[in-house]
């Protein structure tokens, strides 16, 4: 049984455990589900470490490597959030998300190849890690938005906008506020990722910004979340009630996460991608 298969299975079991925990709430189910998720994360981390040692370079040189690292970051960020926000059902979907990322990784070419000269830089480490952490946070906000939209129709009227009490668990009907906090956590990472990318680009290729598809799409991603952060200031002035505003914002987050994944993986399908120096992630 390969390491990747073990990790996938543990993520699936963890996901089930979270659903069980949602139904039977107790200290036992809490620790079992969290424990399983942490176990999945540990296996994922082991995969990343093993690959790094075997390849002799950090796992960022091709799509397979980036994906296993991305799954790992998603799990890591989720675990932190669970401690901070006392999640329950979010864990089920977060685990599924990590699992799906890993599953997509299994479809990729995992041949170990020596790293290109252009990628031999400390900037790459900072650039990729910050981006992965940002993307991981956005993945969690994607999950909370889904839950919010699913639960919203069933939420009792009048309880909207109720502030969560300190330390107490945030209810799914208030996940719109939660999503905002998660995006707020991830946004600086995205910004740092973009800027370190620009500085590195200048060192390697002479220009910090050349409007190449990958750079442009990373900007589009950044702008999408920038819009999300500013929209709550605009919508009330447009006479849209809080409830509707929350739905619009949640949907926007779903779209934005789609943009994140397109920036990360979908670019290779663009005709302009062939010209780009940036798309070695597809090798």
């Amino acid at each position: 049984m390969s390491l990747i298969n073990i990790t996938l299975i543990v993520y699936v079991i963890a996901s089930v455990a979270y659903i069980v925990r949602e139904i039977w709430r107790s200290g036992v189910t809490k620790w079992i589900s969290l424990g399983l998720f942490i176990l999945g994360f540990c296996f994922n981390l082991a995969m990343v470490a093993k690959r790094s040692i075997e390849a002799g370079h950090p796992p960022f040189s091709n799509l397979y490597e980036s994906l296993i690292f991305y799954a790992c970051c998603t799990a890591f960020v989720y675990i932190i959030f669970e401690f901070v926000y006392n999640f329950k059902v979010v864990g089920a979907l977060a685990s599924v998300l990590s699992m799906l990322i890993l599953l997509y990784a299994t479809l990729q070419d995992d041949t170990i190849r020596p790293i290109m000269p252009a990628l031999k830089s400390n900037w790459m480490l900072v650039h990729v890690v910050t981006y992965m952490l940002g993307y991981a946070a956005f993945g969690i906000s994607f999950v909370t938005s889904i839950i919010f939209l699913v639960v919203k129709p069933f939420a009792r009227k009048g309880k909207e906008g109720e502030k969560a009490e300190e330390g107490k668990e945030i209810l799914p009907r208030n996940f719109d506020k939660l999503s905002y906090k998660i995006v707020a956590f991830g946004f600086p990472f995205l910004t740092l990722g973009m800027i370190t990318g620009a500085v590195w680009a200048k060192k390697a290729w002479g220009d910090y910004w050349s409007w190449d598809p990958k750079e442009t799409w990373s900007l589009i991603t950044w702008l999408a979340y920038l819009v999300y952060l500013h929209t709550p200031l605009v919508l009330p002035k447009m006479n849209i009630n809080k409830s509707k505003a929350a739905v619009i914002l949640a949907i926007w987050l779903l779209v934005s996460f789609g943009i994140v994944n397109f920036t990360f993986m979908g670019l290779n399908y663009l005709p302009s991608a062939a010209d780009s120096e940036h798309i070695y992630g597809s090798q």
Partner: protein
């Protein structure tokens, strides 16, 4: 309440310095420029524009657009500047508008408090970055140049799409010259991969080269185990004697011409049993006879053996002398046999007299209960019909002595029998000139020539011993010993990376190839020297990610000559806007960290203090 009154009350309530109080209609304009709504709208338009800019190819020549999108769309793109979105007039206008919005926003919401640091930094940083971009666009240059080793350049080339939409190069002078003293290209160790191929599924899969691990080829019943690995291997084939039974007799013959060895090699009785020196008209043959009678016959006749065809069916054998177009009946059956033609060397287009007896064969026509069949019978390959489709599979046909009519001017026949009789027969001009018994390691002169012949060794059962030898410890030409388990059982063999052909499993449905994945570049560096007025003013060995800066110009290692590595591709950039843009970057980084991490933490602290 009117908008401006609300603002005034808000500001005076907080006791802040109120810098701007505007009255009348200008307030609306001001409000417009300060609004977050404007920002969101601009950003959304930018998002759409950026997407368009990545979907439509940018900055190509007009002809390329026509080729790709058709004349109509190409013209449309040109007019709307969608062929150069990011530098178009409307995009630039959007950015200027955004700049104004940012500045107005910042001014309007200025509170001069510490908590506002993040807000101010992030918004003004974007303004700085945009200004830096403008400076780069107006005052910056970017281009490239190839420098050959030992030479220097004092200019570089920039690309430009001219008014007609055609690609043009503009030469820009440098206030110094760049000399390439040395260009170093380092390649990685060659990597190898084991690829499996399943013919029935037409599928290839790369397998791991891991010793001892039994791998199942996905989607098939084949399992491969690598049992050994040699990083630099060579297959050495050495002739050995397998046993004392003369089932494959061979002799090592040395042919001398005036003292020196002119040629030497193995002659195999059942395979390649002759050597010919065409220049001198000398031919040496090694013939294995099965009895004393045959030897007696050989000593008195020039013909090596009678040419004949042997046909066998269910244990019964009949021999027929070589006689073309005569129909022979196979007694006791319904079969007839007819010899149509014969050659001394199958596939040789030369006339019969010129063909060397390397692959003698007879073409035979068999008529039987199921009709006629034509097949070739090869003297040296009696089992050929077993491996090839035949109508009458049970009918086994062999031939011998077919090339007996071939003769060189001078022929030396080396005869041997199982009883140990060894005789040399010299044949000159189709007549037996001399017969001499021979021994190992003795030289015998060929009459009327200046040549000698010697039998150096004799192997009754000649075979090749294959040995895989390790040439070195470096990974150069590796080989693996693989075991394949499949429907025909377990088969194992060495597979060499130097072998460009696949190694097939016995069922001919599965193959393995051990191949090089090509050499990849480890790194490439250029040793550069900057000269001004003949003096060296700067030196650096640049590599990717590590450029050389001089006089505002930054010189990057960009590429190299892909064929021979004789020139180094440099990218040269001058950007006076860098300090501005980088300040913006720094401010933005600090700003976002402040807003989302520091400020909430401080707010919480403040709240606690207020509550206490």
């Amino acid at each position: 309440m009117k908008a401006e009154t609300k603002n005034n009350i808000k500001q005076t309530d907080k006791g802040q310095t109120n810098q701007y109080v505007r009255k009348g209609s200008s307030n609306k304009v001001w409000d417009f420029f300060c609004s977050v709504k404007l920002a969101v709208v601009i950003i959304l338009i930018l998002v759409v524009s950026c997407i368009i800019g990545t979907v439509i190819l940018q900055e190509k020549t007009f002809d390329e657009y026509v080729a790709r999108y058709g004349y109509g769309l190409a013209t449309f793109f040109k007019i709307t500047q969608l062929n150069n979105v990011f530098y178009s007039h409307w995009f630039s206008f959007l950015l200027i508008l955004l700049c104004a919005n940012l500045i107005c926003c910042t001014i309007k919401r200025w509170r001069n408090t510490f908590l506002q640091t993040g807000f101010v930094l992030t918004h003004l940083s974007l303004v700085l970055i945009l200004i830096g971009g403008v400076v780069k666009f107006q005052l910056g240059v970017k281009g490239g140049v190839n420098v050959y080793e030992g030479k220097s350049v004092n200019y570089f080339l920039t690309q430009k799409i001219d008014r007609n939409g055609k690609l043009d190069y503009v030469k820009k002078d440098l206030p110094f010259s760049i000399a390439l003293d040395d260009f170093i290209l380092e390649k990685n160790e060659p990597k190898f991969q084991l690829v499996s191929y399943v013919k029935s599924k037409d599928r290839q899969k790369v397998l791991e080269v891991k010793l001892g691990k039994k791998q199942r080829v996905p989607g098939s019943d084949y399992k491969v185990t690598i049992k050994d690995y040699v990083p630099d291997a060579e297959l050495k084939q050495e002739p050995v004697n397998a046993s004392d039974t003369p089932d494959n007799p061979a002799i090592f013959v040395k042919f001398f011409g005036s003292e020196k060895v002119a040629a030497e090699g193995w002659l195999l009785a059942y395979d390649r049993n002759s050597y010919e020196d065409k220049k001198q008209g000398i031919r040496i043959e090694y013939i294995w006879l099965s009895s004393q009678e045959e030897l007696d016959k050989a000593l008195h006749s020039v013909e090596a053996a009678k040419a004949q065809l042997s046909v066998s069916l269910s244990g019964q054998t009949q021999d027929y002398p070589l006689d073309l177009n005569k129909v022979f009946k196979f007694e006791g059956t319904d079969f007839t046999v007819k010899m149509l033609q014969y050659v001394h060397n199958y596939g040789d287009r030369r006339p019969l007299g010129e063909q060397p007896p390397d692959n003698p064969a007879v073409q035979v026509e068999i008529k039987g209960p199921e009709g006629a069949e034509t097949r070739w019978v090869f003297e040296k390959f009696p089992d050929w019909d077993k491996m090839h489709p035949a109508k009458y599979k049970n009918l086994k046909i062999t031939c011998s002595g077919i090339a007996g009519t071939y003769m060189a001017k001078n022929t030396v026949r080396i005869y041997q029998t199982p009883e140990g009789k060894q005789v040399l027969v010299y044949i000159k001009d189709k007549q037996i000139a001399e017969t001499v018994p021979w021994e190992l390691e003795k030289k015998y002169t060929i009459p009327d020539t200046g040549n000698e012949v010697m039998v150096a060794s004799y192997f009754p059962s000649f075979d090749f011993k294959k040995e895989v030898v390790k040439k070195s410890d470096e990974v150069k030409s590796p080989a693996i010993f693989a075991e394949v388990e499949g429907p025909s059982g377990k088969v194992e063999d060495w597979i060499f990376s130097s072998n460009q052909y696949a190694t097939w499993y016995t069922d001919n449905n599965f193959a393995l190839v051990y191949e090089s994945t090509g050499e990849s570049i480890k790194h490439f560096t250029s040793k550069l020297r900057i000269e001004e007025n003949g003096q060296t003013v700067a030196e650096k060995t640049i590599r990717v990610n590590d450029p050389l800066e001089h006089r505002g110009y930054v010189i990057y290692q960009s590429s190299y000559d892909p064929e021979a590595g004789t020139f180094s591709g440099l990218q040269i950039v001058k950007d006076p806007g860098i300090p501005i843009a980088y300040s913006g970057f720094g401010a933005l980084c600090f700003g976002v960290v402040f807003i989302f991490y520091i400020k909430p933490f401080l707010r919480k602290k403040l709240k606690k203090e207020v509550e206490e």
